[in-house]
Structure formats: structure tokens, C-alpha cells
């Protein structure tokens, strides 16, 4: 598909000024009520309308039963009645009313259902909007702000803390209205019966309305404190995880435990206090609710006895009061919830409004800014201060050519770190100006700074995905080519719902990669470019290894799978030619592989799922059944017994925990006594007489036997032949449900569960041949080179997962990947802040030279941690205490008494 930007208006368009309901830089509403009114006024009106509709229906469901009893059932004698001009018999009338009642019950339930669903959806929509707003703000926080707030505090705010807000928003108008309405309906009903009774039933309401909020106030304050403490807890836990090495290395775990315990104590104390007060309010409420009936019983009862009131009237009052109490209780609950949510909302949003929030239009605009960075970067009187007082950069003025390479040198506190951040627009100068492409750097849109400039800092972050996606991260700015299913109903629903919550509606599954920016036509070319760049930054050998030890899906990459089969054949031919075929024992269905475990021989394939874990194969029911059918069950048990005896004989004298157990034994030292006991207990017994758990235990042992490695002579030719039979039974009777769980070895097919290297080898490396692994590794390299496949293997290596935050790579590897990432988007200006400090000395020089070579004719500004490297740059700026001490070419500055010489001498 041709690389073309999606037309505005279609799916995948950015929500900028055009997206309905979305304006950039919207301030956060400080109060939840204003938030609700601003973003859901119309929906709240719908909720209100639905609620109002439900009232007469509820009234009818109350009224009809009374009519049924009083008039339809209660009336005596044959009568006929005129209903809407039609004569009705009593039975017909009863039926009509009963069905009418049924109808209104269903209608009332239906309205309630619609109302609940609508309110629930509204709540979720508003929650989505709020979360998106908060997240968007994180992307706009000024970078220094992250030195003050921790991940541990921010994450729970957006995830857990605002969660109840959603539930509340949906019911914000409906609950008070519904239950308030219900209360009114019931009250109307009661007042319609008897005004005096109505007054009596509601006599204590004003008192409750006055007292409850007073008590609630303290609970709200406690709630606020609790939110703060829980955030602190999240922060403490986050710190413990980040600082685990320091905690353990300093024997500080007790101190940390004590700290957490104190935090938990505070939360506990606050919670306890909240409970006491909350339930005191509850107690008061229910006490007052029961106080009214108390008066009814006492005074009403007295009146009845005195004969001033009928018992029927008193019963009616009590029944009416019972109906009233439920909506009244709901209203009081709502009030408590509302107070709680108000605290939560306010305490969250105040954290998302730091000063100096980045202008959102500069991030979301489709305006990509000037064509290029132009020939010069001008810095005039630049100052930077983090706290508003100490200027780490002060009055810095210089001008650099962007077809040349500039080094910034200085001590660690010279301000070169801050200067690099300001030049990369990751921090904002507090004075002076930086001009680029004829504009102020501060005014340039992010689509310009993020595409025409690259930045590589000292501690790069890699996203928890594979190498490929980390490398082309600098090319994913906007969705360029829709995903296959774009434009369908699912996608339209997605867009509609996203917009309703003012979320971005761009499709993350679309193809975002801007191949033009990398100067390549398509994905394949970009992959090759990624490989080139990783080679350039000295990561080529690692990438090749990642590729060899990675797996591919032949359905996705049929050509590569085919090529690996060719490499398999070529390796075999080469081994034969050089008479070294003994280095690998190939997989052969008709032969037992003496360099593989018994488990591998039986399975004769690679486990492709979790079912056939090779270490626990003996436990699988189907495997046990297979062994039985092959007549191996007792034999393996006997082998297991001999193996256990040998292990006990060899290892019994070793002290527990000795390294040999891990390296050589079939069981750990902690299991040694159990096996000694087992052998003593079963000595003299035939295998048939043993207990079932002993049998299973012993039978599992030989599954790890490798004849060529262990040389115990336990797996005789006869046993091997029977394992081959079991191998055939296994493959022949494997149930369909387990078929996907194993990839059988097949000389003609690519094995998707095995690594590229194992596919090429198609066999086991011989234990008996000296230095077999080393020889084979060289030979595989030669074979791949002769077939021109090395690059394809390296491309496969791009799928190597880098782990959480890049943790599966070393610090040096992460820095290399980061440098490659900066180069791939072909920036006009590459700003490097140290960037390669974790590499060893020789590699630093190689990578520095290679990067500068690649950036020839384009701008580089490199804040150097080693001033000696400045020799390779066209222009050198020496910083001292935040000011430019001197600048010029290296040759000019490298003289007696210069600031540069001083730095060089201390290196």
C-alpha cells in the first residue's frame, strides 16, 4: 500500500480542533459537580426525564392493587360497571385490572432497566473522559515535575481512585431524583390518605437533615487523609521495588518493614476512626427512623385504647411509614457517597495541575512546522533554573552550524545536562531564547521537534516489547495506513464511543510507521535499515545471536523458514564433507538419539504449548498411557530404581547443598534422604509391590537420562528399541486436542516451536565430541554466510523481546539501541546527552565515530562525558558553572591554561 496520510475527517483523524467535544488545553474542573454539568448536561436531562416518567408508573403500581382489592374483589353481588363506555362483569373487571397491574409492573421494570443501563453507560463514559484527561496531562507535565511526583502516587490516582467516580456520575442526578421522587410519591400517597399521618411520618426528617451533614464533615476530612496515606503506601512500595538492591545490600529490610508497618498503622487508624463515625451516623439514622414508629406505637396505641383512633388507621400509618423508610435511607446513603466522591475527585485533580503544563496544541496539531531545522541553531542569553533560584545554565549564548558537529564539554555540574535537555525542548529555559528554523524553539510544534530532531539521553528507556518496535518508535507519529478492518461497523462504534468521551479516535492497530521519514519504501527495507543501524552501533553480533536463539512462525515468514531448511541441508553437507558429522546426532524417527533425554526421545518433537513440559513429561496422563502400551512401565521403573541407587551411592557423602547436586545429580540434596528411605523401604520388593507414589517417583527419574552424557549404561539397546516403539505409539494415537501441543521433528519441515539454530542443527550437539558447540557455531556462521542468510537471521533477531523496561538487555545494549533509534528517523539535528557512557572505552570510541560518520553533513550536538572525545568534533563549547567559558575548534582551544585543557588533564 502506498504511504499516504489519511485524509482529515476519516477514521484515524487526530482529535484536534475538529473532534466534536474536544478542545486542547481544557482546564480541569476543580469540582465534580461542575465536571458533571459541563460534560453531561444533556445526558443528565435524559436521566431526569426517564426518572420523571417512572413516577406515575410507580404510582399506578401502588394504586392498582388497592383498586383491585377494594373494588374488584371487595365488592359484593352481581354488578356491572361502566369502564370507558364498555360494560364489564366483575370477573372481567378483575382480570382487566390484574393485567393492567401486570402491564405496569413490567413497564416500571422496563423503565428502570433502561434508566440503569443509560446511567451506567454515562458513568463509564465520564470515567473514561476523566481518565483520558488525566493521562493526557501526564504527557504534558514539565519534565522536572517528575522529580517531585512518583509513579507510585500517580498510577493509583488514575486507576483506582477515580474508579468510584464513574459509578457516581451515572447516578448523580438519577438517584436523588428517583428516590426523592419515590419518597414524594409515597408521601403523596400517604397525604392523600390522611394529612395528619403524613405529617407524623415525616416529623423527624428536618432533624436528620440538620444533624447528618454535621457529623459527615469529620468523616470527609478523614477520607481525604486516608487517600493521602494510601498514595503514600503506593509510593513506599514503588520505592522498595526500585531500591530492592540497596535494601538487601544494606540489611535495611527490617527498617523498610518498620516503615511500611507505620504507614499501614496510619491507614488502619484512619479507617478505624472512619468506621466508628460512619457507623455512629448509621446508628443515629436508624435510631431516628425507629423513633417515629415508637411515637406511633406509644401515642397511636394510647389513642386506639382510648378509642380516639381505629386500629385500622394505625396499621395503615405503620405500613405507609415502612414504605417511606427505604427511599429515605437511600437518599441518606447517596448523600454520604456524594461527600466521599467529592473528596476523591478533588484530591485527584489538584495533583494534575502543575504549573508550566506543556501546550497541548503543539502536541496535537497536524502542522508539521518548517521543512527542516535550517542551517543554524542560535542560543541567546539562555538561562535555566529548576527551583527558580539557582541557575544551572546562565547567560549562555552561542550559534552552531547544523551541517557540523558540536561538542559540549564541562564537568558534571557545569550545566551541560540541563543545556542538552533545553536544546531538545525537554525542559523549558527560564530566560533567554533558542531559535531554530527561524522560529523560537518554544513555539515549534512537537511534530517538528519530534521528527526533525533526535535526542538520546544517558538512561534510555526501552518499551516492554521487541527490538523492532523500540527501533521504529521514532517513526510512529500518526496512523498512516488503516488496519485491514478499518471502516467497518466495529471501527465506527469505536470512533463514536471514543469521541463521546473526548478520547482520541486514532486506531492504534493501524500502521503508524512513517517509512518515508526513514528513507525506505516498506517494512522489509526498514528491517534491513534497523539491522544496519544496530551493526553501526556495535550491536550486530548480539542481534545475530538473538536471531539464532529466537523462534519464528513459518506461517508469517515462509521464506525464512524455507531458507532455514536450506541452511539445515547445507550444514549437513558441510559436516559430511569435512568428516565431522559426529558433531551432531541428527533426529531420526527410526533411531534412538543418544545425545537427547529419554523425554525428548519419546516425544520426538518440541513442546509447542504448556501440556508437554519436557521436565514433567512423565506425569502427563497420555504419556503414562503410551508407556504402558509400549510395555515400558515396569522397565522404566526398574531403570529408575537403579538410577536412584547409583545417585545415592555417588552423592550420599557430599554435604547437603553441594554444587554437584545442581550440576550433576538427578535429584537435589534435600531429596537425598527421601530417596535413601524409599530405596531401603522397597529393597527386595518387586516393582509391582511398590506404592503408587514410589512408582511414579522412580519412573520419572530416567526421563532425564542422556546416554552419551551420563554414560551409566542403564538404557540398554532393548530399552531404546522399546522407547522407539513408544515414540510411534505416541505420535500415532495422539488425541486431536493435544496435536497442537507438540511439533514433531521432521527433516523436511520447519519446526515452529524450535529456535532458528535448532532448526538448522536438526539434531543434538554431541556430548562426546571435543568442543562441538564452538565448532558448530563457527560452521553455522559459515553456512549462513554462504547462503547470504546472516542478515535474514539478524532481521529475525529484531523480534527479540527486550523485557520490562529493556531489562533483558544490558545497560550498554540499551544505550546502543537508543542511539540506533535516534539515527533511524534521519534527524536534521541529533542531540546526544552523554548517550554511550555505559559502553566500554573502546566501544564508546567506535560508536561515537560511527554515529558521527552517519550524521555527516547534518547537525550533532553532543554533551560529552569524556572531554577527550571532543577531538572528533568541528566545534567545541566549554561550559563552566552554567556559562560558556570558551568555544572554538578543538585545535584552537587545546592550549596551555585553557578551560578545555584543564578538563582534558583531569580526565
Amino acid at each position: 500500500m502506498a504511504a499516504s496520510a489519511t485524509e482529515g475527517g476519516g477514521p484515524g483523524r487526530l482529535p484536534g480542533h475538529e473532534t466534536p467535544g474536544y478542545r486542547p488545553n481544557v482546564p480541569l474542573e476543580r469540582s465534580i459537580f461542575r465536571f458533571i454539568m459541563k460534560y453531561s448536561k444533556r445526558q443528565q436531562l435524559v436521566v431526569l426525564a426517564l426518572t420523571v416518567i417512572s413516577w406515575p408508573i410507580i404510582y399506578l403500581t401502588l394504586e392498582l392493587p388497592k383498586t383491585i382489592i377494594d373494588q374488584a374483589i371487595g365488592a359484593r353481588g352481581g354488578w356491572a360497571r361502566d369502564v370507558l363506555g364498555a360494560e364489564m362483569e366483575q370477573i372481567t373487571f378483575l382480570m382487566a385490572l390484574s393485567f393492567g397491574f401486570l402491564f405496569f409492573v413490567i413497564l416500571s421494570g422496563g423503565v428502570k432497566y433502561v434508566l440503569n443501563v443509560y446511567a451506567g453507560r454515562l458513568g463509564e463514559q465520564m470515567l473514561r473522559r476523566l481518565r483520558y484527561m488525566l493521562y493526557s496531562r501526564i504527557l504534558r507535565f514539565p519534565l522536572p515535575h517528575f522529580k517531585k511526583v512518583s509513579q507510585g502516587e500517580i498510577i493509583p490516582m488514575i486507576t483506582a481512585e477515580v474508579e468510584p467516580v464513574g459509578g457516581y456520575v451515572g447516578t448523580a442526578t438519577s438517584t436523588p431524583l428517583y428516590f426523592g421522587g419515590l419518597l414524594l410519591v409515597y408521601l403523596g400517597f400517604i397525604f392523600a390518605q390522611d394529612v395528619f399521618l403524613g405529617l407524623a411520618a415525616t416529623a423527624l426528617y428536618p432533624l436528620q437533615i440538620y444533624i447528618v451533614p454535621k457529623l459527615q464533615k469529620r468523616v470527609i476530612a478523614l477520607g481525604k487523609a486516608r487517600v493521602r496515606e494510601v498514595r503514600g503506601l503506593a509510593d513506599n512500595i514503588g520505592e522498595s521495588i526500585s531500591g530492592i538492591a540497596e535494601i538487601r545490600a544494606n540489611d535495611a529490610s527490617v527498617y523498610e518493614r518498620a516503615g511500611i508497618a507505620r504507614r499501614l498503622d496510619r491507614i488502619y487508624t484512619i479507617r478505624y476512626e472512619i468506621f466508628r463515625r460512619k457507623f455512629a451516623i448509621k446508628f443515629l439514622n436508624s435510631f431516628m427512623a425507629q423513633l417515629t414508629p415508637f411515637f406511633f406505637y406509644a401515642i397511636g396505641g394510647y389513642l386506639v385504647i382510648a378509642g380516639d383512633m381505629t386500629i385500622g388507621a394505625l396499621t395503615a400509618v405503620l405500613a405507609a411509614y415502612k414504605d417511606l423508610s427505604s427511599p429515605w435511607k437511600e437518599l441518606l446513603n447517596y448523600y454520604q457517597l456524594q461527600a466521599d466522591i467529592k473528596v476523591k475527585y478533588e484530591s485527584v485533580v489538584e495533583q494534575f495541575d502543575p504549573p508550566g503544563l506543556f501546550d497541548e496544541t503543539l502536541q496535537l496539531t497536524d502542522d508539521a512546522g518548517p521543512e527542516s531545522t535550517g542551517p543554524k541553531l542560535d542560543v541567546a542569553g539562555l538561562a535555566y533554573s529548576e527551583d527558580g533560584q539557582n541557575r544551572t545554565v546562565d547567560g549562555v549564548t552561542f550559534s552552531v552550524d547544523l551541517d557540523k558537529h558540536t561538542a559540549i564539554v564541562g564537568s558534571g555540574s557545569s550545566g551541560r545536562d540541563e543545556l542538552a535537555l533545553v536544546l531538545a525542548r525537554l525542559a523549558t529555559g527560564t530566560g533567554g531564547r533558542v531559535d531554530l528554523a527561524g522560529r523560537r524553539l518554544d513555539d515549534l510544534p512537537e511534530p517538528f521537534t519530534g521528527r526533525k530532531m533526535s535526542y538520546a539521553g544517558p538512561v534510555p528507556y526501552l518499551f516492554s516489547t521487541d527490538l523492532r518496535e523500540n527501533l521504529d518508535y521514532g517513526l510512529r507519529h500518526r496512523p498512516l495506513r488503516p488496519a485491514a478492518e478499518a471502516g467497518d461497523a466495529r471501527r465506527n462504534r469505536y470512533i463514536r464511543d471514543a469521541r463521546a468521551a473526548a478520547n482520541i479516535d486514532a486506531d492504534p492497530t493501524a500502521d503508524w510507521v512513517d517509512y518515508d521519514a526513514a528513507g525506505v519504501p516498506d517494512r522489509d527495507a526498514l528491517d534491513r535499515k534497523c539491522v544496519d543501524m544496530l551493526r553501526l552501533v556495535d550491536l550486530g553480533d548480539d542481534l545475530y545471536r538473538f536471531g539464532l536463539h529466537g523462534t519464528i512462525d513459518p506461517a508469517d515468514q515462509p521464506d525464512l523458514a524455507e531458507a532455514m531448511l536450506a541452511a539445515r541441508a547445507a550444514l549437513r553437507a558441510r559436516l559430511d564433507e569435512t568428516q565431522q558429522s559426529a558433531l551432531v546426532e541428527p533426529f531420526d524417527r527410526a533411531r534412538y538419539n543418544t545425545n537427547a533425554t529419554l523425554a525428548e526421545n519419546l516425544l520426538f518433537g518440541t513442546p509447542a504449548g504448556a501440556a508437554f513440559d519436557i521436565d514433567r513429561l512423565a506425569e502427563h496422563p497420555f504419556v503414562r498411557q503410551t508407556i504402558h502400551e509400549a510395555g515400558l512401565a515396569e522397565t522404566l521403573l526398574e531403570v529408575g530404581r537403579q538410577l536412584a541407587e547409583t545417585m545415592v551411592e555417588i552423592f550420599a557423602d557430599l554435604p547437603p547443598g553441594h554444587a554437584f547436586f545442581d550440576q550433576f545429580s538427578f535429584f537435589g540434596s534435600e531429596e537425598m534422604p527421601e530417596y535413601q528411605h524409599l530405596l531401603a523401604r522397597t529393597s527386595g520388593q518387586s516393582t509391582g509391590e511398590m506404592r503408587e507414589d514410589d512408582r511414579l517417583r522412580l519412573r520419572s527419574l530416567p526421563f532425564k537420562l542422556i546416554p552419551a552424557r551420563h554414560r551409566l549404561g542403564l538404557l540398554t539397546e532393548d530399552i531404546q528399541a522399546r522407547v522407539l516403539k513408544a515414540r510411534d505409539i505416541f505420535a500415532g494415537t495422539l488425541p486431536d486436542g493435544l496435536r497442537g501441543e507438540v511439533e514433531f521433528f521432521d527433516p523436511e519441515r520447519y519446526n515452529r516451536a524450535a529456535t532458528l539454530q535448532d532448526n538448522i542443527l536438526f539434531g543434538k550437539v554431541s556430548y562426546g565430541e571435543a568442543n562441538a558447540a564452538g565448532k558448530l557455531s563457527t560452521m553455522i556462521g559459515e553456512v549462513l554466510d554462504s547462503l547470504s542468510l546472516r542478515e535474514a537471521v539478524m532481521v529475525a533477531g529484531l523480534a527479540h523481546s527486550v523485557g520490562v523496561g529493556g531489562a533483558r538487555l544490558s545497560a550498554a545494549q540499551r544505550q546502543k539501541v537508543n542511539m540506533a533509534r535516534g539515527l533511524i528517523k534521519r534527524p536534521d539535528l541529533f542531540i546526544v546527552n552523554e548517550g554511550i557512557g555505559n559502553l566500554d572505552g573502546a566501544a564508546q570510541r567506535r560508536v561515537l565515530d560511527a554515529v558521527l560518520g552517519e550524521m555527516k553533513g547534518r547537525g550533532v550536538i553532543w554533551s560529552l562525558h569524556r572531554p577527550g572525545f571532543a577531538r572528533n568534533f568541528d566545534h567545541v563549547i566549554v561550559l563552566k558553572n552554567g556559562r560558556v567559558a570558551e568555544q572554538g575548534s578543538f585545535a584552537e582551544l587545546d592550549r596551555e591554561g585553557s578551560a578545555l585543557r584543564e578538563l582534558l588533564e583531569t580526565e
Binding site: Q579, Q580, A582, T646, E649, I650, F651, D653, L654, P655, H658, A659, F660, Q663, F664, A708, H710, R711, L712, G713, Y767, G768, E769, A770, N771
Partner: protein, 148 residues
Amino acid sequence: MSLNEEVEILRNIPMFANIEPSKLKLLAFTSERHAYNEGEYLFRQGDEGDSAYIIVDGEADVMIDTDDGPLTVAHFTKNALIGEIAILTDVPRTATVKATTRLDAMVISKELFFRLVMEFPQIAVEIMRELAKRLEATNVRIRELSAA
């Protein structure tokens, strides 16, 4: 070749002759078996010494580099223990050993060897005895030479 046969081979080596069978079994089980092609080097002079070798089958030449090229100084056959000096001291290999036929060897890594010595003083005593014997033999030879 099974473990028991390897134990037999170990027993024929003077240094291990008096060590009880279960220890020899441990030594055999924890060592590796490697095959070398004719002409392949077990190790070269100057390499770091990381393991000792016991020839199970085949033959090997011991050569020393001289100004006139390699000079064969000894020839080893079955049951010979080679390279134990380099793992007892930290000197580099003092000679090159090259298989002259297809050769099968037990390889005892330095780490493994030291662990065994630490674990079983009996082995250490046997080694001392063997080294003392060699020292004595060398002294006798020096006396003979100086007498001559």
C-alpha cells in the same frame, strides 16, 4: 563405555589407585567424555590450563615448541593422565598435546578436580604421595646426573 569401565581406568592410574570406588565413580560421573579426531589438539603450549585428561583410547604426542619448530618429547597411550600439572599450579600449558589417532578422553575440569580435592582429603593425600614420588624420582635423576 559405561561408568564402571571408566572407574576401572581411573583405578589403573597411580594417583587414583587407592581411592575408594564410590569416589572414583563420582569423579567419572562428573567428568566429561570427549572424542578427538586424528591430528586434533587437546591443548596447545601457552594455553590456560583448565582441565586434565585421561586417555581412554587412542594415542597422543607431546610436543614442545623450539626455535626449530615443534619437537616431540613424549608419546602417550591408553590410561595416561595428561595436563594435571597445569591444573594444580597456575602455569600455562608447558607443552602441546595432539591426538595421533582417533582419541577418546575423560576430561576433568580444574574446578571439578579442586572440588574433589577439597571434599575428599584422601584424594589430596594420594596426589601428595604421587608428587612426592615424582620429586624423589627427579632427585635420584639429578644425583645420577651430577655423579656422572
